[in-house]
């Protein structure tokens, strides 16, 4: 296959017990770039990663990592990848150093070199002080850092990061972003999954949106945002009686209408002029505005725009 792409998925499908998890996924990641696979829980992100990292066989389609087809050349693929899963996959009883040394040995770096590499990585991930303690005593953030370090022992050209920051506190998240940015500078190709638009925006060259097993959009953060609108303005009308009228007036611009909360959301540039224009419109119609909220677009907004429905999580939330 062409050498410009480090990761390629061609029409990949996968079902579990008759349940279609991936339904013809097509995706390409250029060498030395980072692509964020964005999607809610259950969209098929982890399944995609598991297929690419040879842990799972696809039912149909072909997938290539650095030019090697994943099911036929799984061993070659494994020599080219590093994997960091959703759960810190490290040995609890061993110390941080022992974990990294073990990974080095298993990546066939040699005993002495594994020690050296462990030392480098512990320093790089600010784990030197805790290096001799057993991992059981580590905090969540430390475990994740160790986990990521473990996948970098052999410096694979392609790295899969499955929700690397889910469940981390803000400080650890920023530290993780910092590390990922350094990896990008070092020209490692990264496929990262995330539920957070903000994270994809911050880190990725390109974003692919996965929903119910299909890629529904792919592009740079700016291209996606252009579809969603930069900001979202929520206008809350004071009286129920005037709500309908307000909806009529703003109909063309409205992205979302919520009758119970008497709110109308509009995609906007967020400029003062724009807000004034909208408020003037309401005033002319004699509608009293109770409140205004300005939001940055969220994953839900992207979904709403692209699919016309909310994310599964959001729907469940509303149903319950």
């Amino acid at each position: 296959m062409t050498e410009t792409f480090a990761i390629q998925l061609c029409n990949i499908s996968k079902s579990f017990q008759g349940n279609k998890v991936l339904d013809g996924v097509n995706l390409k990641v250029k060498k030395g770039t980072i692509l964020a696979l964005l999607g809610p829980n259950g969209a098929g992100k982890t399944t995609t990663i598991r297929i690419l990292s040879t842990l799972l066989k696809a039912d149909g389609g072909e997938a290539f990592v650095n030019g090697f087809e994943v099911s036929r050349y799984s061993k070659k693929v494994r020599e080219n990848i590093g994997l960091t899963g959703q759960y810190a996959a490290v040995d609890e009883f061993l110390s941080g150093r022992e974990n990294l040394e073990m990974m080095g040995r298993l990546y066939h770096l040699g005993a002495k070199e594994s020690k050296q590499r462990a030392h480098e990585l512990l320093e790089q991930f600010s784990l030197t002080e805790a290096a001799s303690r057993s991992v059981k005593t580590y905090s969540g953030g430390m475990r994740r850092r160790l986990d990521l370090a473990a996948s970098l022992v052999a410096t694979p050209p392609v790295l899969f990061l499955d929700e690397p920051t889910t469940g981390l506190d803000p400080r650890s998240r920023l530290a993780m972003w910092d590390v990922i940015e350094k990896l990008v500078e070092a020209k490692v190709t990264i496929l990262l999954t995330t539920q957070y638009l903000e994270e994809a925006d911050q880190l990725a060259d390109e974003i692919a949106v996965l929903d119910s097993g299909k890629i529904i959009a792919q592009g740079t953060a700016n291209e996606l945002k252009a579809k969603v609108g930069k900001e979202r303005l929520e206008i809350v009308v004071h009286e129920k009686s005037s709500f309908k009228k307000a909806v009529e007036i703003l109909n063309i611009e409205a992205v979302e209408v919520d009758e119970s909360r008497r709110s109308i959301s509009i995609s906007t540039e967020g400029s003062v002029g724009e807000i004034r224009r909208l408020l003037d419109k309401m005033e002319q119609a004699g509608i009293e505005v109770e409140g205004l909220n300005l939001h940055k677009p969220t994953l839900d907004d992207v979904f709403l725009r692209l699919t016309g429905h909310k994310t599964e999580q959001e729907r469940e939330h509303i149903d319950s």
């Binding site: 061993l94 298993l106 057993s134 490692v188």
Partner: protein, 269 residues
């Protein structure tokens, strides 16, 4: 200077070299667990010691064992039972590795990842030897007077190792099949409890009802116990050793392919 990206390249050796090297690394890992998790070793040792005291002093007086003293009869039974339960540690370790995602990680490496099971089984061998030595020492304290020669002891060691190896691979299968850590516990209990109690471990089989007796006299654990018991007491082993070793080899020969196959197929969460 950033070390995020390393400069060390993998070494070049033959596949056979790496198979041994990888297995050894994973065995070392499991061996470290024995001493990094002393609670486990302690738990596994205390239980059989309690059983020994219970049977020696509470039930023992009521059980007739013919020529040999009850304590001389008992040690082999307790030893084999504790070894069987000890071998179940592999189930727990394999299930934990699966749950924690460690097996996923190992499978994404260019290695024979089933070596991780080999590691746990080897750790069972070492743990069981430690446990057996402690148990025999306690036995000596409560009146156990073995008549075994040095060669007999070597034979006992051999049987304990072969038996542990067989049960540990079955335990690995249970670890792979278990849906949770809790499931591992009852699965292991379900397998080992009937095999060790419906056996010649604590009482001669001659007083058991017919059906139980047929089972107890022919199942592998009884053969293992009877061989070790005869060796300990300097009595003729008969064909028990033959059946004991035969059973263990058969179980191992069946369990290893099943375990490796399940391991490869395992898709986890």
């Amino acid at each position: 200077m950033t070390y995020i990206v390393g400069t060390i390249q993998p070494k070049k050796h033959s596949q056979v070299y790496w198979l041994f090297s990888d297995s050894w690394v994973l065995i070392q890992r499991s061996l470290k667990h024995i001493f990094k998790n002393p609670d486990q070793l302690l738990g596994l040792t205390i239980q059989p010691v309690m059983f020994m005291l219970l049977f020696r002093y509470v039930f023992g007086g009521a059980i007739s064992t013919g020529g040999t003293s009850y304590v001389n009869f008992l040690v082999a039974g307790i030893l084999v039972q504790s070894v069987a339960f000890g071998s179940l540690t592999t189930s727990l370790s394999v299930a934990t590795d699966l749950q924690k995602g460690l097996i996923d990680r190992l499978k994404s490496l260019p290695i024979a990842a089933w070596g991780v099971m080999m590691g746990h089984v080897t750790a069972d061998l070492v743990r069981n030897i430690i446990q057996a030595i402690i148990l025999i020492l306690v036995g000596l304290l409560v009146g156990f007077r073995p008549l075994a020669s040095l060669l007999d002891w070597v034979a006992i060691l051999g049987i304990v190792l072969i038996f542990t190896f067989a049960i540990s691979w079955v335990a690995a299968i249970m670890g792979l099949l278990a849906k949770s850590i809790e499931a591992v516990q009852w699965m292991g209990f379900f397998l080992v409890f009937p095999l060790t109690f419906a056996s010649a471990a604590f009482a001669p089989t001659s007083t058991m009802p017919w059906a139980l007796r047929v089972f107890a006299e022919n199942q592998p654990v009884t053969h293992v116990i009877e061989s070790i018991r005869a060796l300990m007491n300097g009595l003729p082993v008969g064909n028990h050793a033959f059946f004991a070793v035969g059973w263990c080899l058969l179980i191992t020969a069946l369990a290893i392919p099943v375990a490796t196959r399940l391991f490869r197929q395992h898709t986890g969460r």
